[in-house]
Every structure is written in structure tokens, then in C-alpha cells.
């Protein structure tokens, strides 16, 4: 059986945005976390606005998890990793994997902010034949390393990428972002054991610890706490942070100090930045009305 390729208009680099990204992100990467924080915050606010309008135009999406993961994404792609929007397959690129693939709108908005493709294309999210599928697909979207959507896939793949870097003696790093509910998938604990066993200090696993999953709070579904003890017992160097504090995130993304892989437990708020969505389970994939988007965008200028 053969795969049908997308008949859609492919996504192409936004030259100007990519150029801006190269310069600004180089500075941000070089800056101290404290210095970089304000600028990262500004970018994150812009990305949050794009997430909302992207979901609005699609009439679908996972807004709660998009908004909880935004700061983690922006700090990774703008402030930490070396991305190449004009040459997305650059062999020495750092790798970013969004394992919680249902938050595609957040990833796409961030990739667009870096210039991987024009921001204007975000309005095609989930449109017929659009490359911007509801879950990220690497043959369609530059900057996507592996297809995600089913939970529990990104981390093993990221472990393989990091192991590959190690085998090749390459310096590039890998960051993978997981949902907290996603940590209920056993495949992640398999990957954790592998990463620890191979001492993949070039790998950082970030948990978007918003304490909500699809239907309820994580602790009311299948409890994850003590999550730090779990990661530690699985051989990771654990860093627990405020996942909306850009300085803390950038600090937490610093390379391993122990030779072990790093787990960042980022305490976040689902729906962060839009007061009426914050920490409310129904905003997992509820779609805001136009009026709600207006109110949200208003909040996101302040």
C-alpha cells in the first residue's frame, strides 16, 4: 500500500521572519536567563494571540494545553535551541519534539514566529488539504521532527535522536515536551529507563504539569504525584520550576550538570493567560466563541 502525499500547497520559509529569528534568537540564546526573560515573554504573548486566532479560524483545537505549553515552547525555540528555519533539515540542528501533539496550534504558531513558514498560513489550520493538520506531521510542516498525536510517542523518539547524536559525536541537543496526563503512558517510562541507562545528558524531557488531562484533574484520574520522585527513581536529574517564568524555564533548559538526562517538571496553568480558561478542564478542547476570542486577545495585550 502506498502513502498518498498531500495535494496541498507546501509550506515555505518566511525569509524575513527567519532572518529576524536568526539574529534575535542568537542574542536570546547568548543572554542570561534574567536578561532574556522579558523578550521571551513578549514573544510568548504574540504566540498566544496567534494560537487563539488559529483555533478561531479552524473552529477546533486544544486551547487549554496550547496556552499552558506556550512559554515552554517559546523558550525552547527562541531562547535555547539552535533552529534553522531557512534550512529546517540542517543536520546539526537542535531537535525539538512536541510529544503532546494535540497542541499542534501552539507548535505551529511558534514555528511560524520563527519563520519556518508565513504566519498568514496559520489560518489554514485543519482546512481541507492543509499541511497544518490537527496533529503535527513532519512531511507537511518544516520544523516537525516526528509525527505526534497519539500520546506517549515523542519521548522514545527523542531518546533515539539523542542517542543518535551521542553515537555520531554531535553536539546538538534534544528537548521533548510531554503532557502530564501523557505520563500515564508506559511507553514514556520505557524511554526514561533507556535515556537514563545511556546517560543521555544531551536530552531534556519537559513535563507540562498543568494538573489537568482531557476529562479531569490528573490526580483524580490516575495520580502522578510524587512526579519528581518518579523521575528521580528513573535516573533523571530533576528540575521543578514555574513553567510560565521564562527566566526559570531558560535556566532549567541549561545542559545537564550530572551526566544524567534532565527532567523539567514545569508547573503550569492550563489555559494560561486567558482568565476564564485558566485551570478549567472544559477548555481542554472547547472552542472559544468570537466574543471569547475578543476578550482573550484583549487580556493578551496587557
Amino acid at each position: 500500500m502506498t502513502t498518498v502525499l498531500e495535494p496541498a500547497a507546501p509550506l515555505q520559509v518566511d525569509d524575513h521572519a527567519a532572518h529576524v529569528y536568526q539574529q534575535r534568537s542568537a542574542l536570546l540564546r547568548a543572554s542570561s536567563p534574567a536578561e532574556a526573560a522579558a523578550e521571551l515573554k513578549g514573544i510568548a504573548t504574540a504566540v498566544r494571540r496567534d494560537i487563539l486566532t488559529t483555533i478561531q479560524s479552524a473552529g477546533m483545537g486544544h486551547v487549554g494545553g496550547d496556552l499552558s505549553v506556550t512559554d515552554l515552547l517559546v523558550t525552547a525555540l527562541w531562547g535555547t535551541l539552535r533552529m534553522h528555519p531557512a534550512d529546517p533539515g540542517h543536520p546539526q540542528r537542535d531537535r525539538f519534539v512536541l510529544s503532546k501533539g494535540h497542541c499542534a496550534a501552539a507548535l505551529y504558531s511558534t514555528l511560524a514566529s520563527c519563520g519556518f513558514f508565513p504566519r498568514a498560513r496559520l489560518s489554514e489550520f485543519m482546512a481541507p488539504l492543509s499541511p497544518l493538520n490537527g496533529h503535527p506531521a513532519r512531511l507537511k510542516v518544516p520544523g516537525v521532527e516526528t509525527n505526534s498525536g497519539p500520546l506517549g510517542h515523542g519521548f522514545p523518539v527523542a531518546a533515539g535522536i539523542a542517542l543518535g547524536a551521542r553515537l555520531r559525536g554531535e553536539a546538538w541537543r534534544t528537548i521533548v515536551v510531554l503532557g502530564d496526563g501523557e505520563m500515564q503512558e508506559g511507553s514514556n517510562w520505557e524511554a526514561a529507563m533507556t535515556a537514563a541507562h545511556y546517560r543521555l545528558s544531551n536530552l531534556t524531557a519537559v513535563v507540562d504539569r498543568n494538573r489537568l488531562q482531557q476529562g479531569a484533574r490528573t490526580e483524580d484520574t490516575t495520580a502522578l504525584d510524587p512526579l519528581d520522585a518518579k523521575w528521580e527513581s528513573f535516573g533523571f536529574e530533576v528540575r521543578v520550576i514555574d513553567g510560565h517564568d521564562h527566566q526559570a524555564i531558560k535556566e532549567a533548559y541549561a545542559p545537564s550538570t550530572t551526566g544524567r538526562p534532565v527532567a523539567v517538571i514545569a508547573n503550569t496553568v492550563k489555559g494560561k493567560g486567558v482568565s476564564f480558561m485558566e485551570d478549567r478542564v472544559e477548555w481542554h478542547h472547547k472552542v472559544p466563541t468570537d466574543e471569547q476570542v475578543r476578550l482573550a486577545l484583549e487580556e493578551l495585550t496587557r
Partner: protein, 317 residues
């Protein structure tokens, strides 16, 4: 496409799934529901509210979900195990094989939103593989309800059967297609129209489209028999052989890959018993982005597509 069923009222069978399960659970304490953080998407909110202890949500852990269900069956329960079809089947495949089918436990596996019902969410969330995958597990009954009445019958049948069973629970809205007096039996197809030139064998979302196709063919003077195959396993081989013998040509239509689903099951019976020409309609590959309705059109899984295949198989294209 202005045909009968396309204009008819359509229904979300998930409601019928959930309501029927509650009705059964009221009468039979052994019935429990097991799910993977899918209380909402499996439409089990009412079930949980009425039977809080009997809704077991193991979180996002499909292997565990199926293993736990098998354990509950060991303890005397009848677990209706419900998750989005791609994750239930793909992620827990070996548990379905070993813990359910080979151990022979009366676990009912409910694949929610099968086929391309999740449209824009893409191939990871589509379940076009499930029928091929599940047919390759010995001892598993496979039911694809076509409308609300069959959905309810399927739940009742599975609860009473004592057999490991996989049921597709459609999300894509479908019209009612099943006559009141139609049988609901393992290995027994429902004959929806008589016909002598060609037989259209369909399941699930494709049944109403096959009926529309038959109507369109009728206007061209082609007499099409329509069978709703409902049980893909055990298949109604007699009905297939009769179709081959009496109508001389067959078109199958399913919302899934053609490697091992309905079409493959029919082709086997035909080739082994009474070789005639068959055309198989299904999903050829991972789908591009689009709504479920869009994708069905995109792949020609429409009344027009079925009618066209019938004309082609009859050499009247």
C-alpha cells in the same frame, strides 16, 4: 446528491451506545465500563453519574486498560472497554490478542469514532486499520453497526454473547437504515434491497450511501441488491455466495483500508466459492487534512462512488 437517505435525519450513534449500556447496566450488575481518560469522548458521563464505581478510568494507558478489563472479566464482570478506535486497537493490540482473545475473556472492545470520523485530527486519530487488525485476531467477533438501532442491538448482543467482541461505535452521523423486523445475528447480513444485477455489500457509514447508490442505479435500470454486512466476523458467507451466484457481481464499501477488512473477507469467500468480479471501495492510504465528510468524498466513498464502481464492475462505466 439529492437522494433519499442523504436528506434523511442523521444520528450520532454514540448516544445510543451510551444509553443502551446504561439500560443494560441497570439490569445486570456485572456490566462495567473501562476507559482511557475518555469519559467524555466515549459518551460515558451519564454512565459514570449513575454508576460511579462501575466506570473505571485508568487514565491514558491503553495497554493497562485492556489488561484491567481482562482482569475484571476474570472477576466476573462484563467490561465494556471504550477508547478512540486507533488507540484501543493499535496501542493495545497484543493485550487484545493475548489477554482477551487467546485467554478467551468476555471483554467488549468499543472502538469510538472509527474510520475517519476524527477528520481533521488526521491519520494518527483515524482508525482505517482496525478491521484489518482485528480480523487477524482469532476468536474475536467484529460488529460494525450502521445506525442507532444496530448500535443498540450490538451492545445488547455483545453483553449477552459471552464472546470477546470488537464493536465500532460510529461518530459520523448516519441515517436510520435498518427495518424494524431486521435480524441482528452473528453471521447474518441484513438484506436491505432485492436486486439481480449486482450486489452492494456495505458496513457502517457506507450502508446508507449504498442504498442511495442502489436508488441511483435503479434509475438507470440496474437492479442492485444491498447487503448490510454488520458482522464482519463471523461473515455471512452464505449471503456472499448467494450474491455472487444470483447477481454475478459485487461491490464492497467500507470506511477503512482494503487489506483485510470487509472487502478482503468478501473477496476470499467469492474467490474460494464462486468467482465473480468484485470491486472494493475503501480508504487507500493515510488521509490528508479535512473533515470526515470531506475525506469520504475525497476518497470516493459516496453514493456516486459506489454507483460508479457498480457500473464499472458491470462493464457499463
Amino acid at each position: 446528491m439529492s437522494t433519499l437517505t442523504q436528506q434523511a435525519a442523521t444520528f450520532d450513534c454514540r448516544t445510543d451506545f451510551a444509553d443502551e449500556l446504561i439500560t443494560l447496566a441497570r439490569a445486570d450488575e456485572r456490566i462495567v465500563a473501562v476507559c482511557n481518560d475518555s469519559v467524555g469522548s466515549s459518551n460515558l458521563v451519564k454512565f459514570r453519574d449513575e454508576f460511579p464505581d462501575r466506570l473505571i478510568n485508568v487514565g491514558i494507558a491503553e495497554q493497562d486498560m485492556v489488561g484491567v478489563a481482562a482482569g475484571l472479566a476474570n472477576a466476573g464482570f462484563i467490561p465494556f472497554t471504550s477508547a478512540a478506535a486507533p488507540f484501543l486497537t493499535g496501542r493495545a493490540m497484543e493485550q487484545i490478542k493475548a489477554d482477551v482473545a487467546y485467554t478467551h475473556r468476555h471483554v467488549v472492545l468499543c472502538g469510538q469514532s472509527p474510520g475517519m470520523a476524527y477528520g481533521e485530527l488526521g491519520p494518527t486519530h483515524h482508525s482505517i486499520e482496525d478491521l484489518s487488525w482485528m480480523r487477524a485476531i482469532p476468536g474475536l467477533e467484529i460488529i460494525v453497526p450502521a445506525d442507532p438501532s444496530q448500535m443498540r442491538s450490538a451492545v445488547r448482543w455483545a453483553a449477552a454473547s459471552g464472546k470477546p467482541t470488537y464493536i465500532r461505535v460510529p461518530r459520523f452521523k448516519v441515517p436510520a437504515v435498518t427495518p424494524d423486523d431486521a435480524p441482528f445475528e452473528a453471521g447474518r447480513a441484513v438484506r436491505l434491497t432485492e436486486g439481480s444485477d449486482v450486489t452492494l455489500i456495505a458496513i457502517g457509514t457506507m450502508v446508507s450511501r449504498a442504498l442511495d447508490a442502489a436508488a441511483a442505479l435503479g434509475r438507470d435500470g440496474i437492479s442492485a441488491r444491498v447487503l448490510n454486512m454488520t458482522f464482519v466476523e463471523p461473515l455471512d458467507a452464505d449471503a456472499v455466495v448467494a450474491a455472487a451466484r444470483e447477481t454475478g457481481a459485487i461491490v464492497t464499501a467500507e470506511e477503512g483500508l482494503l487489506s483485510g477488512g470487509l472487502g478482503a473477507a468478501v473477496a476470499k469467500v467469492v474467490a474460494e466459492n464462486h468467482p465473480v468480479a468484485v470491486r472494493m471501495l475503501g480508504v487507500p492510504a493515510f488521509a490528508p487534512t479535512g473533515s470526515a465528510a470531506f475525506l469520504l468524498e475525497h476518497f470516493g466513498l459516496t453514493a456516486d462512488g459506489i454507483a460508479g464502481a457498480a457500473r464499472a464492475v458491470l462493464g457499463r462505466a
